[in-house]
């Protein structure tokens, strides 16, 4: 049995407290009126805008010059962006850790459905990570409800003015999508998605624990069926979830492979976290049956899914870049103009780095290599989510400052606390799984 080290608990709580301070100060620092915005912009874009993104600043001042005649409207616009920033930061970080838990759940289901022989020694690690899913689901649903009740405006399309034909803000495109993209249906969908995923997580965990004391393979068979069913449900709902919770930030824009793209990022982050938690537990002397062939396999998945993610990223980018249709290409124009470093830096971190680091077969078994590459991959995929959300909600008024770092620290602390507490709840080795012997002797 694993016991939660007090140091780790303290470490997680410190992260949560410091993160919470960052989140709260982010909300307090957000301007309330346009005059505050003017003040902040006069001070060289406030405290949050020191030189780090000269490109964005430059284009910003160009935009400012052009819109000089429309000053008040511009400041109003910037005010909304700055007010959106702490909310977006909170949303991105909560979604990022949610996606790790969900991706792990999908990976776990794949292991069961495929009757994989190599992975049963890692099942309890995966179950520990998915223990964060219920917590993350509550946070996500609270954030979506806050948006639905207009506590914030990160989901632009939720504004009822946009679908009101009488209004001067009437938006024909959004009105045309309102049969699907309306607040009640949006919330119902969210409940169905989260309900389904959490139900599978509950059933599979329960069956897995029962299987430990079973005489026959009854619970394993039940989990096999549940996993196959879940995967069908998951691939449909995951795709719709990505339209709802991310793509709808840009309600005019759409991409038909967006669901896959989010899925690829989700899987690579999840497998990276599985590998990292496994290595951490192994280094503390637990998981005696995990050998370097298991780490090798996880690293192969990290390598493969990094390439898969890049393939989808590029497929989406190239088709839109090539066809150059204004309503589509605006998505990438915003990102390349205002988020240049992050947008291309992310491709380096998520593709070039893991490909070069993990290409050699021997390096995939070196623990610190996997951890190092894993950290870069996770940061890269956080930036990926950042790039999917921020340009739509805060536009050029972005910065990685207190609210962003605070939110990541808070959710990281929460994630570590929940995951490692869940690992203490059951033995770290599944006892009765029919493939456990194969998994213990797994050798590449």
């Amino acid at each position: 049995m694993y016991t939660l080290p007090n140091k780790l608990k303290l470490f997680a709580i410190i992260f949560m407290v410091v993160g919470a301070v960052g989140i709260v100060s982010g909300f307090l620092m957000a301007p309330k009126t346009t005059s505050e915005v003017k003040e902040m912009m006069a001070d060289g874009h406030g405290d949050g805008h020191e030189g780090d993104h000269a490109v964005a600043d430059e284009s910003h001042s160009v935009a400012q010059a052009e819109e000089a005649h429309d000053d008040e409207a511009h400041y109003e616009h910037v005010l909304h962006q700055m007010q959106n920033r702490p909310w977006s930061a909170l949303y991105i970080a909560s979604f990022f850790f949610f996606m790790i838990a969900l991706g792990t759940l999908a990976f776990y289901a794949i292991q069961y459905a495929a009757q994989a022989g190599w992975s049963p020694v890692l099942f309890r690690v995966m179950e520990g990570i998915t223990a964060y899913l219920p917590v993350a689901s509550v946070i996500i649903i609270v954030l979506l409800l806050l948006s639905a009740f207009h506590m914030n405006h990160i989901f632009h399309w939720m504004d009822p003015e946009l679908v009101n034909p009488e209004s001067e803000h009437y938006d024909k495109l959004i009105a045309g999508k309102s049969g699907f993209l309306n607040v009640p249906f949006f919330l119902i969908r969210a409940l169905i998605f989260l309900g389904g995923w959490n139900l599978y997580r509950y059933i599979s965990r329960r069956n897995s624990l029962r299987d430990d004391n079973a005489e026959d393979n009854r619970w394993f068979k039940k989990n096999f069926k549940a996993s196959a069913g879940f995967l069908v449900f998951f691939i449909v709902t995951e795709s719709m979830m990505s339209w709802d919770w991310i793509m709808s930030f840009d309600p005019h824009w759409f991409s038909t492979l967006f669901g896959w793209y989010v899925f690829a990022g989700m899987m690579v982050s999840a497998i990276t976290v599985i590998a990292m938690v496994t290595i951490v537990l192994k280094s503390q002397g637990y998981l005696e049956h995990v050998n370097d062939s298991h780490i090798h396999d996880l690293a192969k998945y990290m390598f493969g899914f990094s390439i898969f993610w890049t393939y989808l990223w590029f497929s989406q980018f190239m088709l839109i870049w090539y066809s150059n249709i204004p309503e589509e290409v605006t998505y990438f124009v915003t990102r390349i103009e205002d988020y240049n470093l992050l947008f291309f830096g992310m491709v380096v971190m998520n593709f070039v780095f893991p490909v070069l680091m993990l290409m050699n077969s021997d390096y995939k078994r070196v623990n610190w290599f996997v951890i190092l590459t894993g950290i870069v991959i996770l940061v890269g995929h956080y930036i990926d989510v950042f790039n999917m959300v921020m340009p739509a909600t805060v536009g050029a008024s972005w910065f990685v400052g207190l609210p962003e770092i605070g939110a990541v620290m808070f959710f990281f602390g929460l994630f570590v606390l929940v995951v490692f507490s869940a690992l203490t709840k059951a033995p770290l080795l599944v006892k009765h799984n029919p493939f456990i012997k194969e998994s213990k002797h797994f050798h590449y």
Binding site: F317, M318, W321, S361
Partner: protein, 179 residues
């Protein structure tokens, strides 16, 4: 140096693998093993050095990438400048998304084909090459281990090899033009 070689024939890959381990622990020198199919773990048991073909593959990939870049730059930018996707920038880097598929394919093409050719050359395989196989049955269902006799006692070795599970053993005089 005309040395003698013992050819020991086995008919099972597991027995062969065990025999290899025993022969090596007795410090006899295995010259070559002929098998009808790749035996998993055999190269490790024989103590062969790791293959370096992956390194050549990586280098060939880089070569393919370079060829693709130079080729596309010459064809589409320099020799006959093309307006790609309505963006007449006439710069390689700005039109790069259009070239990425070619860069990728050429990398894979070079890496794969040159690696295969390297493998053939390294294995001394080329068209009209006469087979070096000492016994045709190794192309069907038998395994042959060629062990160098060196200064060892042939009698003793033969007995030892029979004990490792060999079915047939024959002593071969190594001619000087054999290799």
């Amino acid at each position: 140096m005309a040395s003698k070689v013992i050819h020991a024939i086995y008919n099972d890959d597991d027995i062969l693998l065990n025999a290899v381990k025993q022969v090596r622990s007795e410090h006899y020198h295995i010259e070559e093993i002929y098998t009808p199919f790749p035996v998993h773990g055999l190269e490790k048991a024989m103590g062969l050095a790791d293959t370096r073909i992956a390194i050549t593959s990586f280098l060939y990939g880089l070569l393919g990438l370079a060829v693709a870049i130079i080729m596309m730059n010459y064809i589409m930018i320099q020799d006959w400048p093309q307006d790609i996707g309505g963006k007449p920038s006439f710069s390689y880097i700005e039109n790069m998304p259009a070239f990425v598929p070619i860069m990728f394919e050429m990398t894979v093409f070079f890496a794969a084909h040159l690696m295969v050719i390297t493998f053939y050359m390294r294995s001394k395989l080329w068209p009209f090459k006469k087979a070096e196989n000492p016994d045709v049955r190794t192309t069907d269902d038998h395994f042959l281990m060629a062990v160098d006799t060196g200064n060892h006692d042939v009698e003793k070795m033969t007995k030892f090899l029979y004990n490792t599970g060999a079915l047939e053993i024959s002593l071969i005089e190594n001619d000087e033009d054999d290799h």
